[in-house]
């Protein structure tokens, strides 16, 4: 640590060069933070998808409805903790650009299956008491400025009410959740939909089943599918995680694209930083000679050069990561297409490791060269 002032002053030996090196590292890690966020956003919350939750969809396609009667048979199966259905409503609020997910659910089982959605107790009561009640995510409420008690009209696209085209909902509560939970959804009650839709009574979108033993997921899935085989609505069961993964894969391998870009960025920055370090050490050849004459060991010369390079990387890199974190705090810039827009902690840690690695690798060659320098050569070179 006592060499810190020496490190610091050699860092600022050429101000402009150091500043631009810092800036390039800064930009590289700013990009790192943003690209990791985009990558996470396009995985649609697969990290928090429950392994103990199975999703049953119609075997032919997700859009084909299933009969509501399956619920009893699922609930009666051994190993099932709770079974409930959901339906995609797909309505339009004011105009189609205001896209967000509206889900038709059964409140009580729904809240048991998804403990990650946190709803205050009085709001839960209000929801159970109000047929037209809806629970909205806090991010969604913020987006449209909704408050508890607001009345929200939504135009049906798939399901038409018996009269007119508009469904009316009361916002009775809001749910919150940990980072990584999608807080942009709109949940309302199945009994309201079913009693008031013009057609399609008794049809639901898919089933979500919570099982008691997650290690049995595969076998349970196979058992469900066998139960409904050869019926008019055969099912296909996957874990919720598998279901979300499948959805993300349909969009395309955004993750791979982001990683490829990151590799290009970091590789370039590594070249830039290494080149600058090499140049900086070359200019100080005679200084290194003097240090060695003064009795600095080879190891401490190595440490000095590496320390300088790591210091630049850490200064620029942590600033870049920090700024990307600040930007991500502003939330999803696409108006609802990417509901889970956060910089995961895991990626912050990975970023920190990358910063140090970048510093070490960039400084390695110049440091070794400086270490192996012979005093006589070094002093003669000026």
């Amino acid at each position: 640590m006592k060499f810190m002032p020496l490190l610091w002053s050699s860092l600022w030996r050429k101000k402009i060069r150091t500043i631009f090196t810092l800036l390039s590292v800064f930009v590289a890690f700013l990009l790192f933070g943003l690209l990791m966020t985009i990558r996470g956003a396009f995985s649609f919350g697969v990290d928090i998808a429950g392994l103990d939750r199975l999703v049953l969809i119609h075997k032919v396609a997700l859009i084909m409805p299933l009969p509501v009667s399956y619920k009893e048979r699922l609930a009666a199966t051994e190993g099932v903790a709770i079974a409930s259905h959901q339906t995609w409503f797909g309505g339009v609020y004011q105009n189609p650009a205001n896209f967000f997910a509206q889900m038709v659910v059964e409140p009580e089982p729904f809240m048991k299956i998804y403990p990650e959605f946190v709803i205050p107790d009085d709001q839960v009561k209000a929801w159970l008491a109000d047929r037209q009640g809806a629970i909205v995510g806090v991010d969604l409420a913020k987006r449209f400025g909704w408050k508890v008690g607001d009345r929200i009209p939504i135009t049906g696209t798939i399901w038409q009410p018996k009269q007119g085209q508009t469904w009316e909902f009361n916002v009775v509560g809001m749910y919150d959740g940990a980072a990584g939970v999608d807080k942009t959804q709109f949940f309302f009650r199945y009994d309201y939909l079913d009693e008031n839709r013009a057609d399609g009574q008794g049809l639901v979108g898919w089933y979500v089943v919570k099982i008691s033993d997650p290690s049995q997921a595969q076998q349970m899935g196979a058992r469900f599918d066998a139960m409904f085989a050869n019926s008019s609505a055969e099912t296909k069961t996957t874990t919720e995680k598998g279901f979300v993964e499948g959805f993300a894969k349909q969009v395309g391998d955004i993750g791979a694209i982001m990683i490829a870009i990151l590799v290009a960025v970091l590789f370039t920055m590594l070249l830039v930083a290494a080149n600058t370090m090499a140049q900086s050490v070359r200019e100080r050849t005679s200084e290194m000679g003097v240090l060695k004459t003064l009795g600095f060991s080879n190891a401490s010369i190595l440490a000095l050069v590496l320390g300088e390079s790591v210091l630049i990387a850490v200064l620029g890199g942590s600033l870049g990561l920090g700024v990307s974190w600040l930007i991500v705090q502003q939330g999803d810039p696409t108006n609802g297409m990417l509901p889970i827009f956060i910089l995961p902690n895991r990626d912050v840690v990975i970023g920190g490791v990358m910063i140090v690695v970048l510093g070490l690798v960039a400084g390695a060659l110049p440091a070794v060269n400086a270490m192996n320098l012979k005093i006589t050569d070094a002093l003669r070179r000026s």
């Binding site: 990009l31 859009i63 797909g90 349909q250 960025v265 070249l271 830039v272």
Partner: protein, 395 residues
């Protein structure tokens, strides 16, 4: 004259000595090439997707959906409504009937080639008039399916991207067995991702009774659209919305195209800033290793402008090389690359190919040159301002 020849001499000297600074010049070239690759390839995704959607729409076709529906998927029309729509004025006629096809649009779960994971492949139930409505339709392999059977034809894009969609194979899904008898193309449009089947067969398979979802109709000419629409809107027996097909697809693709373009430009802009810093560093290094040479030149009487120009020329040529390499690599790696993604408004797959157009390549190279100019400017000014005596003393 003297000035020009001076500038030329210094510039040539500079360019000829680039090989001596291979390391740092290489860094600048690689940095700029990296930015151009990312810019061009990300935008080629947006370009390819946009092109597939654009070619899908025609101005002489009108799409009729139930009012309130936001896509073909959510629309629904009864048989009586379909009959009325087909009799509306403004449509092209063939003999007694109008050229219009009442269709169903659903999705089916088929694994994607490569990821092996299920994908929502669109299935379109069509009437015999469908191919007359879409004059660009042609069978490239096998034959058209027979109406009244369960045979299907598949689009070229679907055949490439999803499993088991080749002539001779059978699509098995739930209790449906659909033999594939042909592959069709429609000029690169989104319909090439679809599976086509007799609409009556599909009604049975998806339990749609006698109902349809949309009517695609061929107009007499682009001008008769208003007459057609107004007549339907005014008709109390139907509750529909009418759009030009081109307009419909434009709106469907807007969200995704602008998302990709936003991400692409954003990333490229940030990377560009990083590359400019890289270029500045490179040129600073180039200038500072030669500060003695430059001072000597100026002591000999070369003017400062020629020194500035020579440094700028060097950085611009490095940038041009980087830009060209980046553009060519992006072209080689991605042009025509086949993939598919999800159209968020129908949750169904759209197959398309990346398109690295000459315009995108031009954009990439111009971007590289801008980076080179910015990167060279400060070091050039510094070289020009270098005080001669101290520079000569520098090592």
């Amino acid at each position: 004259m003297n000035f020009i020849s001076q500038t030329l001499a210094v510039t040539l000297l500079n360019l000829r000595t680039i090989p001596q600074r291979l390391g740092s010049s290489g860094v600048a070239i690689v940095g700029i090439a990296g930015v151009v690759i990312v810019l061009v390839s990300v935008l080629s995704i947006a370009r390819g997707f946009g092109a597939a959607m654009e070619q899908s729409g025609s101005d002489v076709r009108a799409l009729v959906m139930r009012s309130g529906a936001d896509s073909e998927m959510t629309s629904g029309l009864g048989p009586a409504e379909v009959d009325i729509i087909k009799q509306a004025p403004g449509l092209q006629r063939q003999g007694q009937t109008t050229v219009a096809s009442a269709e169903l649009y659903v999705i089916i779960d088929i694994p994607k080639i490569g990821t092996n994971s299920p994908a929502n492949v669109p299935v379109r139930g069509v009437e015999p008039t469908a191919t007359a409505v879409r004059s660009e339709f042609s069978i490239t392999e096998g034959r058209m399916f027979e109406f009244g059977t369960t045979e299907v034809v598949v689009g070229r894009g679907a055949s490439v991207n999803f499993q088991g969609l080749t002539v001779g194979s059978t699509i098995v899904s739930g209790q449906n067995r659909w033999p594939v008898v042909g592959v069709f193309e429609t000029g690169g449009s989104i319909a090439e991702t679809e599976i086509w089947i007799d609409t009556r067969t599909l009604q049975g398979a998806y339990r749609r009774g006698n109902s349809f979802q949309t009517v695609l109709a061929k107009l007499d000419s682009s001008q008769t659209f208003d007459a057609f629409r107004d007549w339907l809107i005014a008709n109390p027996q139907v509750n529909v919305q009418v759009r030009r097909e081109a307009e419909y697809y434009e709106q469907q693709s807007r969200a995704l195209t602008s998302l990709i373009e936003g991400i692409g430009f954003g990333i490229a802009a940030l990377m560009g800033v990083g590359a400019v810093f890289g270029a500045i560093l490179t040129m600073y290094t180039a200038v500072s290793t030669r500060s003695r040479e430059i001072a000597t030149l100026r002591a000999l009487g070369f003017n400062t402008t020629s020194v500035v120009v020579s440094v700028l020329a060097e950085s611009l040529s490095l940038a041009a090389i980087g830009g060209a390499i980046g553009g060519l690599l992006a072209y080689a790696a991605f042009n025509g690359y086949q993939t598919s993604t999800m159209n968020f408004s129908t949750f169904s797959q759209v197959a398309f190919a990346f398109q690295v157009t000459p315009e995108l390549l031009g954009m990439g190279v111009s971007y590289a040159l801008i980076m080179g100019l910015l990167g060279g400017l400060f070091p050039a000014l510094r070289a020009a301002r270098l005080p001669i005596p101290s520079a000569l003393r520098e090592l």
